[in-house]
Amino acid sequence: MRPGQRRSAAEALASSLRCLRRDTAAEHRAHNALAAWALQFSPMVTLDPAPALLLEIGSCLAYFGGLERLRQQVDAGLIDLGYTVQQGCAPTPLAALWLAQAGRPEAVALATLPETLGQLSFTGLPLAAEQIASLRRLGLQTLADVQSLPSRGLSRRLGLQLAQLLDRALGRQADPRQPYQPPDQFERQLDLNYPVQASEALLFAGRRLLIELSGFLRGRGLGVQQVTLRLTLQQRPDLESGQSQPLSAPHHATALPENRSHFDLMLAFGRPTREVAEMLGVLKEKLAVNPLPAPALGLTLQARVLHALDAPVSDLFSNGQSAADFALLAARLKARLGDQALTGIQPHPDHRPERAWRTSQQPDNAPQLPATLRPAWLLHTPQPLELRDARPWLGEPLQCQGRAERIESGWWDGAPIARDYYLACGPSGRRYWIYFDRKEQSWYLHGLFD
């Protein structure tokens, strides 16, 4: 295979080829996660155009026990995360980058930098494709070739960018970088003076952290939809917390002493909020259904994802039946009963009556039902009707009203129907929704009116 090859051509060569779409968003996330990871080696990490990372290490060599040991640690760490690494080491960020790209791992000192860089090809330089092509067309191959041409003439043709790049790479010109900023997050820890297991005491401590969170959020105009309360326990519990950390995400947890473990409570609020009372309500429900396996020694509140709050959440109408309160109610019910216990219901565009609605977690605007008379309550499975005097019977003789509504649909998903639906009445005055199955040639009750 080669880049730019037609898919059909590639498949002609390897019939078992599997094609996957490139996921640039995932690459972006991984790149950022690596930058966060690299902060352990240097406070000054720069995100270069992916997939490169620049670490300023001059100031932390002593701490890591010298250049070689530091580079080994970085290499080992990245390999451990499952990446392949190409390192470059130079007094300027650009030179380090180019060396890494060229696969030249040796550390280069400032004095030998011009000579070493001169051996490199210019193809990896951050120049426009046409500028690279231009240099090629002049028959040039290395940076030394480039430097051998009259610099004014070259700048006139290619712009100043190339000269500036070279100056920066050689340290003749400053090359300030924007350091990587880890995303805004909230994390506060609170150590308890003695082991606590009673939920009131935990609530009290939790409230302190929630107040801090609320203040933090307020200052930034943000809210949270979900936070994690991590309780440090006295003993290793039998119960697993159920939380798993993605490999690429930075670990903030430090190693715990042998006789300690932790227990995570996830608090979800149904909508972005920063109101202490709302958050506390959910915490209370959670504590009620999740008893601690051991006394807690400390609490950590983490809010990883922060949301913008469009408008301040007003307290004025808190007694009204607003949508927000409904969402909070739903969140509280879910906290107590479990996520799966609570669903919404909404119409779904399908001619088959049993599929004309569905449950959903998030209501949206589904198309309306066609204007037909249908009962609100359908039987879970249609009930076969017996025939008496050639008429369907359900404790009483059923009389069909009007004309059949014929429904034939659903051949594509293995649940095809071919039915004639009728509104039927019995002498009792009850109204039924029954149908004649055209394939089976038999009658069924499907729903009841009223």
């Binding site: 019939s15 006139r156 037909t372 004309r403 429904i407 594509w412």
Partner: protein, 1031 residues
Amino acid sequence: MLPAYAELHCFSNFSFLRGASHPAELVERAAELGYGALALTDQGSLAGVVRAHEAAKAIGFKLLIGADITLADGPHLVVLAPDLSAYGDLSELLTLGRRAADKGQYHLQRADLQHFSRHLLALWLPERGPIPSPATWQADAEWLAQHFSGRLWIAAEQHGHADDLEWLAHLHQLSQQTGLAVVAAGGVEMHRRSRRPLHDTLTAIRLGQPVAECGYALHANGERHLRQRLRLAQLYPAAWLEETMRVAERCQFSLDSLRYQYPQELVPPGLTPASYLAREVHSGLHGRYPGQVPLKVQQMVARELDLISSLAYEAYFLTVYDIVSWARRQGILCQGRGSAANSAVCYALGITAVDPARTEMLFERFLSKERNEPPDIDVDFEHSRREEVIQYIYQKYGRDRAALTATVIRYRPRSALRDVGRALGFDEEQLHRLSSILAWWDKRDDLPARLADAGCDPDSRPVQWLLQLVNQLIGFPRHLSQHVGGFVISHGPLSRQVPIENASMTDRTVIQWDKDDLDIIGMLKIDVLALGMLTALRESLQLVSARYGKPFGLTDIPAEDPAVYDMLGRADSIGVFQIESRAQMSMLPRLKPKHFYDLVIEVAIVRPGPIQGGMVHPYLRRRQGLEEVDYPSEAVKNVLQRTLGVPIFQEQVMQIAIVAAGFSGGEADQLRRSMAAWRRTGKLEPFRARLTSGMLERGYSQDFADRIFRQIEGFSEYGFPESHAASFALLVYSSAWLKRHEPAAFCCALLNAQPMGFYAPAQLVQDAQRHGVEVRPIDVQASHWQCTLEDGTNGPALRLGLRLVEGLGTAAGQRIAAARPAGGYRSPAQLAQLARLDASTLATLATLATADALHALSGNRREAWWDVSGLTRHNDLLDTAPIDDSLALPAPELGEAITADYHSVGLSLRAHPISLLRPQLSTRKLVTATALSTMPNGRLARAGGLVISRQRPGTAQGVVFVTLEDETGSINVIVWSDLVNRQRRELLESRLMLVYGVVQREGDVVHLLARRLVDATPLLGDLSPRSREFH
């Protein structure tokens, strides 16, 4: 007692992606159900009516013609044509609506309908919304009543919805309010209920989403089919059903009553079409035969004129004559092809060029009384000037009288699979894998295994549906497109015969019928086709004329020049019309043409028809005297003598049917038509019985009859008519003569007519060089846009034109040549200034530098690039103030220069890339093409070269023919299918291929039979001559 019923509202699949049945299916089903009539009412279209008409006529069923129309400003109607005037109105109305909208759409308003409402019947379909709107209804009813007084009904449609009875009551009420009668209608979109899945699938395709997500866009049930009359009786009041028959009764129009006339105005006053045609034919004959017109030709002309008169086709011939004469006056080269070359009249009129005195002609192949089908005259024009001819036709007759024929684009297996697959929710990955097994689609037994190979469970529900629906969808019309050049021209407004709509090309209009429809209706079409070789011939002749200083035309080319035949006998035919392909080249040395008629055979014999019919080898053996020529009878001898007893042409098969099996001329032509279609229809068996019995009766052996029949089968769609082969052979000879005697002019003209033919400019130029032509490089100081001839040391030299520079625009290229000072440009800056290359065309200069076209101004490519890139932009104009900072840069190495040449010009005059690699190849014991051509049969040999083409003919059972090119010529490689499978990568990926194999020699024809392929592309660096692949 079942009620009588006529269906008045029915869509076929010509309501694209809505109707789920073919017109014929609907007609046949309606007849089967005992309907009184069926109206085909597609959405603003009459595209399906001819097919419905044909089906109805065959079974004696009554068809009504109409259309479903939704006006932009309401209401929704079905209009029906009760008589010819109404039909004309309908056709004009639809033309108006289609011309006012984008391709595939129509736009009509009340004002439009009003204008054409005097004869049409109207069925009003009030909108069935959730809430009836009495006010709107009332207004609509009044407007309609005003324009369709006494010809207006309310149409009631019942499809088993919950509110059917309510709706029925509404319509009752509306009827009472307005006094309009209600008529029952079905709104039919399929002929049987079982098409419901396909209908849902079509809806999903139309909406571009999976069926499962189409929701209420799908119909709730399958009631929109042609229903049993019993069911209808349950749904509609009897009076409404009866009313359908009354409406049908009023419709007495049939497409048979369309009277079509070719333009009459070409006839000068005082003459009739017949007398004018006769006059022109006779004056034409005297031009063709300056001495005495041969008796045979006189007789033919007399017979043809008689037949033309009795069929009243004079105006058709005169129309074609007019177009061809006009083209001649403009200096546009043209020549008739196909069956028209069977006509002496066409020859006399200058439409065709095959001399009837010199060839056998079968006029029935062109025109016969029994066939009752119009003749088809196809004329080739120079491809670069065909548009002028088309615009002449539009200008002369106007867009209401002339339009292109439609081509119905139908679902083929690949497109059906893709669309159905998406509708069923298959992902693109799966579809892609499935489409790779399309070749097995027809082989039912193999299909499950192939599906499993493609990763699909053949028994799964989605796959089962996929198979069923794809098979149903194949053959469905998808949209109308324009025919390559088939024009219909009429005396009166064509738009009253058939609706005319916009084509996707601007300035083109197409009718809604395709050529089969025209045949059925009896409308005549003329094919205005484009042929690149005519462009090349015209230009060659112009160049030769300029050199001789006197006009030199096609007719000045000496006939039967032995030097030309010698050249062709050596397979030296690159660039020659029709016989330059590899298959033709390997036939030429075997056939060794000596006379014009040999070229006719050469053109026709290297075709899938004769190859599959097994005619090639018997013919060659007989020609070489290795096999005796025998004839079962004198009559057959007359037919087959000229091809040594082996039928090679369609006409011969027809004639054998006539002389040996007693077919009439018309029957023989039907046989030919069935031959063309039998793979599709399988309708050849009836002819077999007739043919065999006819031959046995006349004393021929069963064996002979079987052989003839096998040959007929082999012909299939691929047999050439002799007349067509003869027309093409004329161009073969002319182009071969020019190649032999004027190679520089010929190559120049071919280069300027690109893209055409089999070879890229690189091969054409190398071929010219091998024939001693001096070829000069592209140079801004000398080149024109086109390639040109210059005075050379030894005859004319070919100067490559700027048109070969990849990425150079025509306008800029022409300005560079036009603005060049007498002494040439002084610098790239001056070039930019004089040729008005503005800032955006700094890229143009760069392109020229890349193509090494600035070498006279700047030196080598690198230096040129330095100069060009140094021109700065200033106020949108190049700053041409000279800043001379020219620099001497080392010239690129030869290999790099050649690579650059290929990249930017597609060829190099420096050296063949392989010549640079020769030392390396020699150490690997590879020989050159020239050395290979002298090796004996069976010798082990290795050779290599650039891959010029790979071909996998359908007739060759998986064998791939590869043509390689080295510095001495081309190497023909045969790769058997087992090697194809083992070395697929080398075969498909190599740009430089080395072949280890065995020499296969037959006379002068040498192939290298591959045993192992090596991909040596890396040797080329990044040299990448473009390989032309024909599959």
